[in-house]
């Protein structure tokens, strides 16, 4: 009787620990093979045949298609440079320069990867439509209310993610630091 109880307890514990850790890694992802520059994170190997099992599991769970290595690379950010989560009710400024690439796009998603509805039907910017300063730098204001210049509406949602995708770019598996890939800075400038 006692042996059965102990065996059942061990099996139940194994199920909880095993499936629980799988759920956490597939939902939040792991740090395996990630490239982090400032607030931006990319997984260069996700777009190749050498993708690690944890990335494969999270890709299968979310239902997305990772961007192929010969196509480009995707950086995502869920916090600003000071690790404060991106809040759609605050004013967030994305500014600076981007790594070398033929084209890039910056898109705002909610945490599940859906676009956020807004009356302008603006979900992001491409490198061609952005308004730049005379020095080639740009400044995008991510805010709920209309702003001058490059305004990216948040729809007022609480948590969002920014995704910067570089197309036809040398940035990839060999990239390590900010010097190889100068990413734009993200800063929260004001919260109501």
């Amino acid at each position: 009787m006692r042996l059965i109880f102990i065996t059942l307890l061990a099996l139940a514990l194994a199920t909880v620990v095993g499936l629980g850790s799988t759920y956490v890694t597939a939902t939040r992802g792991t740090d395996l093979g990630t490239l982090t520059i400032g607030a931006w994170t990319a997984r260069p190997k996700s777009g190749s045949a050498e993708v690690d099992p944890y990335s494969r599991a999270s890709i299968a769970r979310s239902g997305e298609l990772p961007i192929g290595t010969g196509d480009g690379i995707a950086f995502s950010a869920t916090t600003d440079d000071k690790k404060k989560p991106l809040d759609g009710r605050c004013d967030v400024v994305v500014s600076g320069v981007t790594p070398a690439a033929r084209f890039w796009t910056l898109t705002l998603f909610d945490r599940k990867g859906h676009l956020v509805a807004n009356s302008l039907q603006r979900y992001g910017f491409t490198s061609q439509e952005i308004v730049r300063g005379s020095d080639g730098q740009f400044e995008i204001r991510v805010a709920a209310r209309a702003r001058a210049g490059n305004w990216l509406p948040t729809g007022g949602i609480e948590r969002y993610a920014l995704m910067l995708r570089l197309y036809d770019t040398p940035v990839g598996v060999a990239t390590r630091t900010q010097r190889d890939a100068p990413m734009p800075s993200i800063s929260t400038v004001g919260c109501p």
Binding site: L13, L19, S48, A49, A60, G70, G124, E129
Partner: protein
């Protein structure tokens, strides 16, 4: 007391095994992965344009709304596939995914170096069965080996401004992916029996 400690250690160790097995099995058992999502809205071995990514009706999460996207869901069991994608003005790319969403190959318009991206997709068996004497055509043919018989080809054309989206969609609408019937030698025995039983139908009629 020592029994309880032992049970917990055994449970955690066993949990590690369960974790590894479930992580490796997840791509195979997932029902909401990209291939499953696209199966209902795409035709096999044909280019199907996806609706534009918009709030509420995006076919997949994290789709880039600046791109026109078309899908060719392929099955190579009946032969190799020929893919032709005319290059749009700004940026065009073709990415290949296995049935379990491993991106095994991707090419963009610049690395293709032409006005039209032309590719032959086949399994490794079909590739090794190709006749060797095609040296002249081998230079212009880009042959991709698919690790699995089924999978997805994603065609993307960038609209750098929203007004250019119709052009990007038009470039993808002109693309094609279709099964090749003639140059696969493995399939040659099958067309042969078709004319052979020609005398037989006479008797049936």
């Amino acid at each position: 007391m020592i029994r309880i400690v032992f049970t917990i250690i055994a449970g955690v160790l066993l949990g590690g095994v369960v974790h590894l097995v479930s992580v490796l099995a997840l791509p195979r058992i997932a029902t909401q992965d990209a291939y499953s999502r696209l199966t209902s809205m795409t035709k096999l071995n044909t280019v199907t344009a996806l609706p534009l990514a918009e709030p509420g009706n995006a076919p997949m999460p994290f789709m880039d709304p600046a791109f026109a996207v078309a899908i060719c869901r392929y099955d190579l069991t009946d032969g190799a596939l020929k893919l032709t994608v005319p290059v749009s003005q700004a940026y065009t790319s073709v990415s290949f995914y296995t049935r379990n969403e491993v991106a095994y190959y991707a090419i963009n318009d610049r690395s293709a170096g032409r006005k039209v991206i032309e590719l032959d997709l086949m399994t490794e068996d079909q590739h090794s069965a190709l006749p060797e004497d095609e040296e002249v055509t081998a230079a212009d043919r880009l042959i991709i080996d698919s690790p699995t018989a089924t999978g997805l080809i994603v065609l993307k054309a960038l609209a750098p401004e929203p007004g250019l989206m119709p052009q990007a969609q038009a470039a993808l609408a002109a693309s094609s992916c279709k099964l090749q019937t003639e140059p696969v030698p493995v399939k040659q025995p099958e067309p042969a029996p078709a004319p052979a039983p020609a005398p037989a139908p006479k008797g049936k009629r």
